[in-house]
């Protein structure tokens, strides 16, 4: 949200100028935060106040500032951000500004420019021709890029507490298995609806336990029904999903009966082989080899997915990206517009997604292990809800929410 710090001086208390300025900010639909008030000791001593005012758009802020300037609230003279050209490829200059995942602004040529694609642990690069600032991962630095150094002329907007209570309130949800899941899942469903209605995108990060526990069918239905826009997973989720589609087993166990299949341990390798022979998941769907399951649903619905591999992967499937920097870039491309991210039964992929998402995105972390949920909800995201539960009842209940 664009904001500006203003200062008021004089007999602003007895003249009611300070309350008047604050009232006007609200009349203009803005918000304020009093940073500092110094009251004069004697009657003739002036008082001083610093107030940060914010509005939904730069135009609204300009109109608001124009009005409160008449009341003596003038913008504090802000210092410009210091920009230093990168001296080598692939590394920031010394003392680079290291980003958070919060909405960030940079002061450049007398204006606050919003930094595009907020992401933690990056630098800020400014394109002087287009007057655009954006986050930049360290490996993407090119010699000569103008990088912000130090903290001068950079500000972050803290997330505001929502006037309504909801399950995403600032770390309010202490992780516990002893929570009424139904209510929380209902609220998550409602938030997904709100996000979609507002034009936001829903990202799902899922581990293979989704398939092992028999919950794959619910994720498949959620995808088919259009509630998921982006899927991020590893090799294993796709492999076992395909194994289930081709053989009815996951890790060699029949999902219908819960008993191991004969030679079932080979199924996942046969599944990988079939897809590799077809030239990939997409080809397998097009050739009619792969007809059901999460991945088939993604292909049919045109859902963007990124499969990022790891050292323990079998195969991997042809779509799996094994260069981790390339995988991060692939996820980065999917992040814009994501406002809700549901992370189910996977730790490392969830952490990776959390690192790449802006703080404004709401995170839902579901895992049977409380330590994983705590780790995910505590990691830099300000709007996270954690659920300690088996993933199958979670997805079943979530799906039920959308069918009611």
């Amino acid at each position: 949200m664009p904001s500006e710090t203003v200062e008021l001086q004089g007999h602003i208390i007895d003249s009611l100028t300070l309350p008047k300025v604050l009232d006007e900010v609200m009349n203009f639909g803005g918000t304020f935060e009093i940073i500092e008030v110094a009251i004069g000791h004697r009657r003739e001593d002036p008082s001083r106040a610093r107030v940060r005012v914010s509005a939904a758009t730069q135009e609204a802020l300009d109109a608001l500032l124009g009005r409160i300037k008449q009341l003596g609230a003038v913008p504090v003279v802000e210092q410009e951000a210091v920009l230093v050209p990168a001296d080598i490829d692939g590394a920031f200059p010394e003392n680079f500004y290291c980003t958070t995942n919060l909405q960030t602004f940079i002061r450049h040529h007398g204006r606050w420019i919003e930094v595009e694609r907020p992401e933690m642990d990056c630098g800020i690069v400014v394109d002087p021709k287009r007057q655009i600032a954006s986050t930049l991962a360290v490996h993407r630095v090119k010699k000569g890029d103008l990088i912000a150094v130090g903290h001068q002329g950079v500000k972050v907007t803290p997330l505001e507490r929502s006037p309504e209570r909801n399950v995403f309130e600032f770390m309010a949800s202490s992780v516990s298995s002893e929570k009424p899941k139904g209510v929380v899942i209902k609220e998550i469903g409602a938030q997904i609806r709100v996000a979609k209605k507002a034009g936001g995108r829903v990202m799902v990060v899922a581990g293979p336990a989704v398939v092992h526990t028999g919950a794959g069918t619910y994720l498949e239905r959620l995808i088919e029904a259009g509630w998921v826009d982006v899927l991020f997973a590893g090799n294993a989720l796709a492999v076992h999903d395909i194994e289930q589609a081709l053989y009815g087993t996951s890790l060699g166990v029949y999902l219908e009966k819960g008993i191991p299949a004969k030679e079932g341990h080979e199924h996942h390798m046969r599944a990988i082989n079939a897809i590799r022979r077809a030239g990939g998941i997409r080809n397998a769907v097009e050739q009619g080899i792969l007809k059901s399951g999460i991945m088939a649903a993604c292909v049919r619905k045109g859902i963007e997915f990124v499969l990022a591999g790891s050292i323990r992967d079998d195969g991997p499937l042809p779509e799996v990206i094994t260069d981790m920097v390339a995988a991060q870039e692939a996820v980065r491309r999917l992040v814009p517009g994501v406002s809700v991210c549901v992370m189910i039964a996977t730790m490392l992929h969830s952490i990776a997604a959390g690192n790449l998402l802006p703080a404004l995105a709401k995170l839902v972390c579901v895992d049977i292990n409380p330590a994983v949920v705590t780790k995910l909800t505590d990691r830099g995201s300000f709007q996270a809800v954690g659920l300690v539960t088996d993933v199958e009842p979670f997805l079943r209940e979530l799906w039920k929410n959308f069918t009611e």
Binding site: Q9, G10, H11, D14, S15, L16, T17, P19, K20, R43, E44, P46, Q70, L71, G72, V74
Partner: protein, 264 residues
Amino acid sequence: MPSFLMCPPDFYQIEYEINPWMNRRRPAETAAAMRQWQALHDLLTTKLGATVETLNPVKGLPDLVFTANAGLVAGEKFIRSNFRFPERQREAPVFEAWFEKRFYRIFTVPGDACFEGEGDALQLGKTLFAGYRMRSDIQSHRQVGEILGCEVLSLELVDPRFYHLDTCFCPLTDRAALYFPPAFDDYGRKVIAESVPEAIPVGREDALRFACNAIVVGNEAVLHAGCEATNLELRRHGIKVHELDLSEFHRAGGSAKCLVLRLS
């Protein structure tokens, strides 16, 4: 006895329009203006025992006659005005030269903040009441408070017809003042209610006859003729009222108080 600065209306005329009262198609009658001004001058010097200094009129500066806007005088200090409109900005050096010649310490308000002197700054007790938005900027108030070492209560003016504080607020004593409530917003009215022990509201009819633009000397007041309700109210407060016809100056949006600047 108090002393005032006045400027004869030799070149007074409606040459431009910078407030809703001014209309170039309704010019002032110079002879009538001269007579009205002289009557005020004589009333102050003879009946009220005030000293009046005069400033030489300057051709092309028709509003120089409204000396209240020259600046603000406190003892040997003169805070010069920084006029809002270019039409009046040319008056500033003329006023400044007059005060400089008489060894006043000249002060200016900082930056580009506008300040229109006694037109927007009136002392009541130990507090300076200061109007803003139409002509003066609130940013000037802090500096004026620092120069004078007093509390300044800022009042936003919301009706363009009452563009200076001295058209809608008039201190009578250390605790009483006339004011026209609709010229202020809720905040201003609240400040007046809390800071002026006896705030006397003036009705619309009298306010539009510039009842608040009165000159107060001791327990006597000079104002435009015909403000009957206000006269009654003033007499009730033990103030003797002197009525004058100042209609020629109303064409420019000024009356008795606008024509004088208090020097002491």
